[in-house]
C-alpha cells in the first residue's frame, strides 16, 4: 500500500517536529545547519512532496492563475494562453483554463467556477460588461484585449493600429479602400475602425482634391466572416484595391474570397490584417499585418496579477506594422 507521505512522516524520520520541517521547506534561515541536512535527507529518502491543498488552505491563497478566454481554438487566444502558461509555470504557478465561447452566461459560469478555486488572480478576455462586472470586482483581475469597468486593461493601442494600417495603404497609393471591422459591439473593433477612419479623414482634409473612395463593413473576427464580407466587398461594381481587416483570420478568409473572384494578391488587391498570428507569415502570400506584442501583453498582465497592485492602471502597448507580401503599391503593375 502506497501511503502518501506527509510532513509528519518526514518529521518522524528526521527526529524533529513538523514545525521544523515546515521551516526548512520555507527556507527559513533560523534552522540549524545540521538539522536542515537531516530533514532534507529524510525528504529525499521518503520522496516527500508538499501537499498544495494543505498549504493553500492554511495560507488562504493558491498558486493558481485563472485564464478565461472566448475560445482557445482562436489562434490569437491560443498564443496568449501559451505565453501566460509559460510565464506562469516558470514562476511556479499553474493556469486554469476556461472558454466562454463569447457567451455571457457561459462566461459568468466559468468565472464563478474559477473564482471558487480561489486563484491568485484572473486573466480575463471579457465578453460582457454586465454579467461579470461585480462578480470579479475586488478580485485581482486583469483584463486583456477588451476592457471591463473598474479593471486593469492590458492591450494594444487599437486606434493606433488602425491608423497604421490606413497610413500604410494610403502611402502605397491606394485610393479605393475598404475596412473590414469586427463586431461593432466590441470596443476593440470600434477602436481599430476609428483609428483607420481617422487616418482616412485626415488624408482627405490634407488632400481635398484627391479622389478617395472608402467604405466599411463589419462582422465577426473569424475566417468565415472574412470570406463572406470579402465576397460582398469584391463583387461590387467598383471593388476596392485595398482592404484592411480587424483580424488576421478575417484577412485569411478574405484571401479565399479574393481567389474565388479571380483576384491576385497583391497585384489586384492589397490586404493588411491585424494581430500577426503565426499563420499570418505562412499563408500565401505572406500577410502584411499589424502586430500585437502578445508575449509582452502576457508578461504585463501576469505581473499586474502577481504584484496585486491595488489601483487599476491600464496599459496600452504600441502595435507595429509588419510589411510582408500581401500589400503593394498601386497602380502596381
Amino acid at each position: 500500500m502506497l501511503l502518501t507521505v506527509t510532513i509528519k512522516h518526514v518529521a518522524k524520520a528526521a527526529g524533529v517536529a513538523v514545525g521544523t520541517v515546515s521551516r526548512v521547506l520555507a527556507k527559513n534561515k533560523t534552522v540549524n545547519e545540521e538539522i536542515r541536512i537531516r530533514v532534507e535527507e529524510a525528504i529525499q529518502e521518503l520522496g516527500y512532496q508538499p501537499n498544495t491543498l494543505g498549504r493553500s488552505l492554511r495560507l488562504n491563497k493558491t498558486d493558481l492563475i485563472g485564464l478565461v478566454i472566448p475560445d482557445i481554438t482562436n489562434p490569437f487566444f491560443a498564443e496568449l494562453a501559451k505565453h501566460v502558461e509559460m510565464l506562469a509555470s516558470s514562476e511556479g504557478y499553474s493556469v486554469l483554463l476556461a472558454n466562454s465561447h463569447d457567451d455571457p452566461a457561459a462566461e459568468q459560469q466559468q468565472v464563478q467556477a474559477l473564482l471558487g478555486r480561489l486563484p491568485r488572480g484572473l486573466i480575463l478576455v471579457p465578453v460582457s460588461e454586465s454579467t461579470i462586472g461585480d462578480l470579479v470586482s475586488g478580485k485581482n483581475t486583469v483584463t486583456v484585449d477588451r476592457p471591463l469597468q473598474g479593471q486593469t486593461l492590458v492591450g494594444v493601442d487599437n486606434r493606433r493600429g488602425g491608423y497604421l494600417a490606413a497610413d500604410h495603404l494610403l502611402s502605397l497609393g491606394h485610393r479605393r479602400i475598404a475596412y473590414m471591422s469586427g463586431p461593432p459591439t466590441l470596443d476593440v473593433a470600434r477602436e481599430r475602425r476609428e483609428g483607420f477612419v481617422g487616418r482616412i479623414r485626415e488624408f482627405q482634409q490634407q488632400h481635398p482634391s484627391q479622389p478617395l473612395a472608402f467604405q466599411t463593413v463589419d462582422g465577426n473576427f473569424d475566417y468565415r466572416a472574412g470570406e463572406e464580407l470579402g465576397n460582398r466587398l469584391l463583387r461590387q461594381e467598383h471593388p476596392p484595391t485595398a482592404i484592411a481587416t480587424a483580424s488576421d483570420q478575417q484577412a485569411i478568409g478574405l484571401m479565399r474570397a479574393a481567389a474565388d473572384v479571380g483576384l491576385s494578391i497583391p497585384n489586384d488587391l492589397s490586404i493588411v490584417g491585424f494581430d500577426d498570428i503565426p499563420l499570418a507569415s505562412l499563408v500565401l502570400p505572406r500577410l502584411t499585418t499589424i502586430r500585437q506584442p502578445l508575449a509582452e501583453i502576457a508578461r504585463i498582465a501576469l505581473k499586474a496579477i502577481l504584484s496585486r497592485s491595488s489601483t487599476p492602471h491600464d496599459c496600452k502597448l504600441e502595435p507595429v506594422l509588419v510589411e510582408r507580401n500581401s500589400t503593394r503599391a498601386w497602380p502596381g503593375r
Copy 2:
C-alpha cells in the same frame, strides 16, 4: 471589511450545526425539509460559496483535470483542449493546462507541477517515454494521440487512417505518389506511414503490371516542415501527382510550396491531409483529409479519467476520409 463567509457562519445564521449545513450542501436526503429551507436561505443571504480547498483537503481529492500537451498553439491540440475543457466544466471540473513544448525536461517538470496539485486525473500527450513513465504510473492517467507504457491510450487507428489516404489516391488513378510523414520517432507518425505504405504494397501485389512510383519523406508536423518537404518533393524531375501528409499543417505548408512552383491544386497535384483541423475546410482549395473524431476522443479520455478504471484499456477510434477539393482524379483534365 469583507470577510469570507464559511460554513460556520451559515450554521450560526440558520441556527443549526455545521454538520447539518454540510449535509444540505451534499444534498443528503436525511435532512428535515424545514431546516433545509432555513439553511438554503442563510446560504443565499450570506452569499456563501463553499471553499474548494477545505473540501478537497478533507476528501483528499480535487475537481481538477490536468492537461499536458506539447503546444496549445497547434490547432489540433487547441481543439483537443477545447473539447476537454467543455466536457470537464460541464461536469464541474476545471482544467489545468500545461505545455511541454515537445521537450522531455519541460514535460517532466510540468507533469510534476500538475501532479503536485493532486488532480483527479491527467490527460497527457506525451513527448517522451522515459522521463515521465514512472512519474505518472499509478496516477490515473490517460494518454491521447501518443502511447505511454502502461497507460490507457485513446486515439485514432492511425494505420487505418494512412490506409484510407492511400486508397483514396489510388482509386483516383494516381500512380506517382508521395507520402510526407511526421517525425519517425513518434509512433503516430510511423503508424500512419505504415498504413499508407501498406495500402501501396497491397496495390502493387494486386496489380503487378501497373507502373507505380512511390516515395516517402519525413519531418515535423508543422506548417514549415510541410513547405520545406513540399519544395523538395515538387522540384524533382518527375514530381508526384499526389501527396498525402501526416498532418493538416504539413498539407497547408505543402499547398504553399505547390503555389510557389506554379502547381495548381487539385489540377496538377492532389493533396490529402490528416486530422481535419478547422482551418482545413477554410484553405483554398478546401483540404481533403483524414478526420480524427476529436470530440469523441476527448469524451472517452475524460470518461476514462473520471471512472478510474483500474486496468489500462486502449481505445482506437475510426478515422474517416473527408473528401473536399484538394484531390482529383488523375489524369484530371
